[in-house]
Amino acid sequence: MRSPACQSRGLCAEGPLERLTETDIAQPAVVATSLAALALLENEGAVKPAAMAGHSVGEYAAYAAAGVLDAESALRLVHARAQAMAAACRTVDGTMAAVIGLDEAPLRAACEAVSRDGSSVVVANLNAPGQLIVSGARDAIERLRDVAKAAGARRILPLNVGGPFHSVYMQPAASALAEAIRATVFRQADIPLVLNASAQATQDPQELRHELEVQVYSPVRWIESVQRLAQLGCDRFLEVGPGEVLAGMVRRTLPDVKVASFGSLADLASAAALIEG
């Protein structure tokens, strides 16, 4: 019998692509890319952020960048998280969807209206004004479609994700992850980190430890997190890692701040310009 790792190696060498984008591989890949991008950026010159935040699995990269976790511990925990979430996803037919054009309060009310015992949906990611993500049982999200549109949503777009992340359906994953978190050393953060679940800033190792346990089934309060960073004095935002999605969310939330992304060498000049001011 082949080990899971061997199976994955075969799949990565031979495909299919769908397997490669599943959460157990995608999560460590995102964090490794983020840490590698930061290493390259630091190699090019001083990067001294006033504060940091990471979106969802990106919190692990932020913890490593702020000295809370060493790179190996961050990657070990991300691997444990990904495995636990993949296992939780196999127990439910769940997914996520973007809801365009509806505020948090009416969307939350719509989610409550369509949720039933064993089939619920919640507001999972508050990414930017007018860009909220719901997560839950697939049939609950189907029921939400008409109710949310009646409440004023312009569109509901299904997301190609592995399961109902940041919802109650991920609580089993948190329990499985807790043991790995307890076995890991957390240090005081070098700079304030704004946490997904609370949108509060902290450098305290116990609060940082608690966050990683609860964030897996809690909403990502990204709008408030970005606003908190601004309150802490941040007027330039650099997204470090793959893609440019977070930069777009920051621009929508704070139209007047300067924003750039760094995930590949092609972005180096614009990232350097932002850092230099």
Binding site: A32, T33, L75
Partner: protein, 32 residues
Amino acid sequence: MGTDLQAASLEAKRLFALADEVTGLPISRFVR
């Protein structure tokens, strides 16, 4: 994502190798 980072920085390359080792998954090949 990641291929150019690995080529440009020894530390980036080390981090991807560490991800492979820690997870037992071919992360460095995945991000090509």
